[in-house]
Amino acid sequence: MRRVLAVVPTPSMFAPVSTPAFAIREVSFLVLAIVTVIFVIVAGLTVYAIVRYRRRPGDDAREPPQVYGSTQIELAWTVVPFLIVIVLFLTTARYIFAVERHAAPPEALEVTVVGNQWWWEIRYPSLGIVTANELHVPVSDPARPTPTFITLQSADVVHSFWIPQLAGKMDVIPGQRNRTWVEPLTPGTYVGQCAEFCGVQHAGMLLTVTVHSKDDFARWVAAQQAVAADVPAARAGRDVFTSVACISCHTVRGTPANGVFGPDLTHLMSRATLGAGVAPNTPENLRAWVNDPASLKPGALMPAMKLSKNQLDQLVAYLGTLR
């Protein structure tokens, strides 16, 4: 399942691949057109006034005619903007309700995303999968839509869930269950990151969404549902894992490790990055991370475990088997 991190596109909100993001782009074109016209007219008038009525050499010292106002003109430039506002408001309200009140069809996939300082826990309650930092969803066919509805919760502070090409932001707030949804129409990997300041490593709280074809998604689900591989050659590393504090925070299904403060590591090697996107998941980076997470992500809450070189080798070898 290990993927090479493909060339990541710019997460432009003007390159949508998902229904809500398309709706947002539609309404954004309308408002951009309106403000462009307003800008051209008002800036044009201002430039005209500045150029045409500048003081020129040779002007006499008399004051220009004093004009105190004009009810008709002022009424006009009050009423016209008011009409524009009405049009804009009605359009906006229509799109707000269309996106927020979109009902989940029975085929929709339910996912829970939990924001943590500074990583994402991703749960599929109906599939029995727990993973981190890389959300996998099936592509949706407009004829038979399979959108993904996401419940957002926070374990600590306020975060914000944002994948520009899939949907607008929805904040992730402790004590509140927010909902958002995506309906990607094109397979691929899309990037985003936490969009609400959440502490030291706010910048290091990245997220990718991989959109699979139906079959690929089924394969991914099956692989994730398996318990951790038990490779005899890596038993020594597993003993290190279960005998030091790793298991206080991490879960590896199929072993005694059932901590919940850190990411589930059952299929760690299926993920493309470490530390919520701060480094590619290579053996060297994995070793550096386990030895001292702050070397890749200063401020990360995982402590350096002060392992001996031998323990480190064994542990990294064991983690490498968690495919």
């Binding site: 403000v35 008038l45 004051e63 105190y68 106002g69 914000s160 909902r179």
Partner: protein
């Protein structure tokens, strides 16, 4: 007509000659609105230099992907201190400092209604500001130096809870804002009382200069919006020290409630800062266009409308917190409505210039740049009010671009213009026009280089408040351009400082009315004597000095 006072001795000739200490004592114990006004503005400018330095480091760090010039901890402190400083220690003191100085002079009064309250307000602000900056030493206790607040100027709960922000740095932020808040409310009450009760004979409300009208609106907004923030700060204080749970989500407190409190202050605050800018250009544009303001009653009405509507738009900062479609729609409506009175003002200013004989002295250059930049700021504001689009744009660099177009492109530009305009009144000397032009053009170029590209970075998905970003996102180019604007702005501000330093000593004498202006402050000496006017002025129109200069065609019959 008794409005022109003969030139009289400058204030420092009246005080007893003494050493530096005696002079300092004079300033410390003063209750004179002019001295307090000058101290407000000077302190605000000093903090402006500090906040600019912080911004410079931020831009250096972000100039390319993956830079490690500062650590994430330091970066978070820098943007927290930059934002807090610019709003509370630069914006507020400068706009209220100007009002302190100008309102009594413009309405023909001898001082503010409560001079000692005024002094209290200033010192509360200054000590609040020093308390905030003391956090660099005291945030971790003196021996663990180096911990300024790092929770953002908005300090969203529950990041401010003890669990997530141990140490004292957040307490410094909390207490200094609380202290400054009391000072600002005191000054606002003072300005309201002064404007309502101390106008000279003949100056009905309908004859007040637009500057005074707008500062009245600003003071009203401040009195309504700041106490809720202070209340929230006290709740946070109780949370952090006495184990209350207002915002402690782990014990059932509400994170969103803090946001409501904060933005109930925070959005009116934008207008508390920006309407004084409108007030300044409403004086500058007519004088340099040589025309009366077009549609005075409409401008006043628009200001009042902004004041009322500003109290109803706060939750447009919260479109992504999940308020639900009906509330989102309501706040979109109020936000779009406020564009109407704001637009009316732009039209009135342009109509004032229309048919004039515009003289492009430095104050007018800044006012003209303000017109274009504020137009952009207003239009990106409309873009942000379209809620679905806002779900993409909020907390992205687009928002950073938007509010810097408001607070720098509009407010700081008008403040610079206002300093060039009123410096001669305050000091009796002109600022250099030549240096003023350099200052203007360099700042104009630097400002736009820095902040225009941020719109693009935001639309390409770059979130705010990140200390670094991956190299593959396509944001490098726009960030580099943004950072390249910094040296231009630094050069402009240095020229400004040099201009002030040189002109204080060698500037051309200003006389009482260097711009051939029309409001009362230009009828007394520059600098004005401690008692402002030798005899109480009497006015018969909105432009008393126009009446005096044009006895054949006074304003009165036209109003």
């Amino acid at each position: 007509m008794s409005i022109v006072a003969p030139p009289i001795a400058a204030p420092d000739m009246l005080v007893e000659r003494g050493g530096l200490l005696a002079k300092l004592h004079e300033w410390v114990v003063t209750v004179d609105h002019k001295r307090l006004g000058v101290m407000y503005v000077v302190a605000g400018l000093a903090f402006f230099l500090i906040a600019g330095l912080e911004a410079g480091v931020i831009r250096w760090q972000l100039a390319a992907a993956g830079k490690t010039f500062v650590s994430p901890q330091v970066f978070n402190r820098l943007f927290t201190m930059h934002g807090t400083t610019m709003v509370f220690l630069v914006g507020i003191p400068i706009v209220f400092g100007f009002a302190n100085y100008l309102v009594p002079l413009m309405i023909g009064a001898r001082d503010l209604a409560f001079p000692r309250l005024n002094a209290f307000g200033f010192w509360a602000f200054l000590f609040g500001g020093l308390l905030l900056y003391f956090s660099f030493l005291g945030g971790d206790g003196l021996y663990g130096a180096g911990s300024a607040p790092d929770v953002g100027w908005f300090a969203y709960a529950p990041l401010t809870a003890r669990a997530f922000s141990p140490g004292n740095s957040t307490d410094y932020w909390n207490l200094s804002i609380l202290v400054m808040g009391f000072g600002t409310v005191a000054t606002s009450i003072n300005l309201i009382a002064t404007t309502l009760t101390m106008r000279c004979r003949g100056m009905s409300l309908g004859r007040m200069p637009l500057y005074v009208w707008m500062m009245l609106v600003v003071s009203g907004m401040t009195v309504l919006a700041l106490p809720p923030l202070s209340a929230a700060q006290i709740m946070l204080l109780l949370d952090r020290f006495l184990g209350a749970h207002f915002f402690d989500t782990q014990a059932g407190g509400s994170a969103v409630m803090w946001q409501h409190f904060f933005w109930f202050f925070g959005h009116p605050e934008v207008y508390i800062l920006m309407v004084p800018g409108f007030a300044m250009v409403s004086e500058i544009i007519p004088v340099f266009s040589r025309k009366v303001i077009f549609g005075y009653p409409m401008v006043v009405a628009a200001s009042l409308a902004i004041g009322f509507l500003a109290m109803t738009v706060w939750a447009h900062h919260m479109f992504a917190v999940g308020m639900g479609a009906p509330l989102n729609s309501a706040f979109a409506a109020s936000t779009m409505l406020i564009a109407i009175p704001t637009g009316i003002k732009i039209f009135n200013w342009v109509a004032t210039m229309y048919g004039g004989r515009i003289r492009f002295a430095t104050p007018m250059l800044f006012a003209c740049a303000f017109l274009f930049q504020f137009l952009c700021a207003g239009l990106t504001g409309i873009i942000l009010s379209v809620v679905p689009f806002n779900w993409q744009l909020t907390d992205s660099y687009f928002v950073v671009a938007h509010f810097h177009f408001v607070l720098v492109g509009s407010l700081i530009f008008t403040i610079f213009g206002a300093i060039y305009y009123w410096f001669p009144k305050v000091t009796g000397r002109m600022l250099s026009e030549r240096l003023g032009r350099w200052h203007f053009w360099l700042f104009l170029i630097g400002f736009n280089l820095t902040f225009v590209p941020m719109h693009w970075a935001g639309m390409l998905g770059m979130p705010r408040r990140i200390y670094t970003y991956p190299a593959d996102r396509g944001w490098d180019f726009w960030n580099l351009i943004s950072s390249l604007g910094v040296p231009f702005q630094v050069a402009a501000v240095l020229i400004f400082v040099v201009n002030i330093a040189l002109s204080l000593r060698r500037g051309a004498p200003a006389g009482s009315d260097p711009w051939d202006a029309w409001t009362l402050e230009w009828s007394t000496a520059s600098p004005p004597p401690p008692y402002n006017f030798e005899t109480a002025p009497v006015v018969e129109s909105r432009r008393p000095l126009w009446d005096l200069k044009h006895p054949d065609d006074p304003d009165g019959p036209h109003e």
